[in-house]
Structure formats: C-alpha cells, structure tokens
C-alpha cells in the first residue's frame, strides 16, 4: 500500500510539473511587440506624410490551433497595425471614411506554424480602395516567414505579425508614394 501511495505521489508530482511547464503555452501574444520599430518602413528621419487611410482588418484569429504555438488574435494584429501606421509618420489613420484618402483592407488569412521548431508563415491580404465607393486600386498577398524555435513560441507569433505589417506597409508606401517620374 505504501508503494502504491509513493507511485501515486510521483505521478501527481509529474502531472503538476508538466502543467507548470506548459502553462507558458497559454500566455497571449503582446501587441506592442508586433509594431515594426525594428523594421522601419523608411530610412528618412522626417518622412513626408503620404496619405490618410481608413483601416479595416477582417478575418478570424489565426494560428496556434492544435499546436503549442501562440495564436495571433485579429484585435492584436489590428492594434499593432494602427500603432505602426502612427509611428511610421508616412500615413495617418482615421476612423472616418469620408476623411480618408484611401481605404486599406487587411485580411488575416493564415498563420502556419511548425509542429515543434522551424518557420512560421503568416499570410495576409492587403487591398487599397477608394474610401467611399470602395473601388479597388490595388491588391497584394503579403506572405512572410520568420524563425520559430520551440523555446520562443510567443516571440514567433509576435515576429510574424511585425514582419508582415512592415512588408505590407512598405508595399502600401510603394503604391501610394510619390513616383520618381512625377518629380
């Protein structure tokens, strides 16, 4: 009977240890770590503002399902995108479509994460339309990959968002920025 109790005690200890170890898996991603300060859209210290945009982020939370990696909530991605836009000074975001030069729609499509370690790939769909009539001007698939080591699960999700936002805004600047042939 004593042996049985000892085995049971060890089992409970193992269960508690594994629970504590995996508790980190449920830690949510941090939107402030998704803003792309580390990957500036422009090298210019005083970039000219290009346009005011009305931003819509659509789609469901992506990634992290049936995986030990951290999911990317749509609301966190949207906040990071708006913060990066504000920080870039290339664009200004407005909540009033009538006050915008363009509407920017960004769809969260998928975040493919590895089973253990490898690369996380985030796909988003970016489109620029006129703000009121919603006539499409341009559309772009932005698919970015970032390293996803097993020991950096939360960072992998945050880096995926940050890299993707930087790539998307770079494309936006190319589409809406002053062209060289315009002097």
């Amino acid at each position: 009977m004593t042996d049985v109790r000892r085995v049971a005690a060890h089992f409970v200890a193992a269960l508690a240890t594994s629970t504590l170890l995996f508790a980190g898996c449920s830690t949510p991603a941090r939107p402030d770590r998704m803003t792309s300060e580390a990957a500036p859209i422009t090298e210019s210290a005083e970039p000219p503002q290009i346009a005011t945009v009305f931003v819509t982020v659509y789609g469901d939370d992506v990634g992290g399902f049936a995986s030990h990696f951290i999911p990317l909530p749509r609301s966190d991605f949207e906040k990071a995108l708006l913060d990066t836009i504000a920080g870039s000074r290339l664009f200004a975001a407005t909540s009033d479509p009538a006050a915008a030069d363009y509407a920017l729609n960004v769809g969260l499509i998928s975040l493919v994460v590895p089973q253990w370690s490898g690369t996380a790939t985030l796909e988003t769909s970016w489109s620029i339309t006129t703000p009121v009539a919603r006539e499409e001007i341009s559309r772009k698939m932005v698919r970015t990959s970032s390293p996803s080591p097993f020991s950096r699960q939360r960072e992998a999700t945050e880096n995926s968002a940050k890299t993707n936002i930087a790539a998307g805004l770079k494309w936006l600047a190319e589409q809406l920025g002053p062209r060289e042939d315009q002097g």
Binding site: A8, V12, D60, N105, G107, S127, R134, K140
Partner: protein, 151 residues
Amino acid sequence: MRAISRLLIVVICLSVSGCSINRATGTFDPGKDLVNSDIFYVERFAPDKRELNKTIADGINVRGYTATFGPAGEAPDDATVIVTYVDKWMWDITNYMIELTITFRDPESGAALGSGNSYHTSLTRLSPEEMIEEVLTNIFSADTGEEPAEG
C-alpha cells in the same frame, strides 16, 4: 487504490477532452463581393491524392456559380476566382480529415479574397464532403455578411 482510481479518471478526462474540439470559421473581404458571373477554378493541392478539388468544385457549382478544377497554374483565362485548399489528416482507429482550409484568391495577385477553415477532432469527425460543405457555406455566408455556421 482509491487514489490511483481518481488519478486514472483525471488522466482519462484530460486525454479525451482533446478529442472533441470543433472550430469552423469563414471570412471575406468586406470591400469585395462575389457575383453570379464569377468563374471559379479549383487548383489541386499537390499532396492531395483524393481529388478533393473536384468535390470543392461540385460544392461551388451547386450554389449557382461556374467552377472547374485541375492542376495548379492551369486556370482558364476567364477564371475570376482561384480556389486553393489545404487538408490535414490524422489517424485514430481510421484515417480522418482533421482540418480543411479553403481560400478564394484573386487570379492576378494571388491575394486572398476570402477564406474558411474547419477543424474537427476524432470524436466529432466529419466526412471530407461534410467538411467541404461546412467551409464553403462559411465563406459564402461571410461574403453575404451572415454569421458562420456552428462548428
């Protein structure tokens, strides 16, 4: 012995709880709408040996649209929507589809217009036809602004 019995119950509960996860989502670009004149082309996912692209095309056709299917990169010139998909399978007594993602894409840019995903673990598994139907229903519902079907 009572302690071991309790532990076994806890372990079984923890193990089985992961077997009944359901998730079904659908999303569509709010700035874009499907129209009856849209022509779909369903590209076969390279690892797919079951020709799910044919079943997906059938599911689109019954909704009143024109859809054809075939290998990737061979869409007809008049296709206005390219459909791609990724299916994942698991083994639990028998092989079953655990996850299906279908994406509607713009033929020129490859960018997604809409996407849907269904995830059903072993205890609530669905047939591939049911999974396809569920995902398509959720994508078309998202286009019209309806709530997605329950997973």
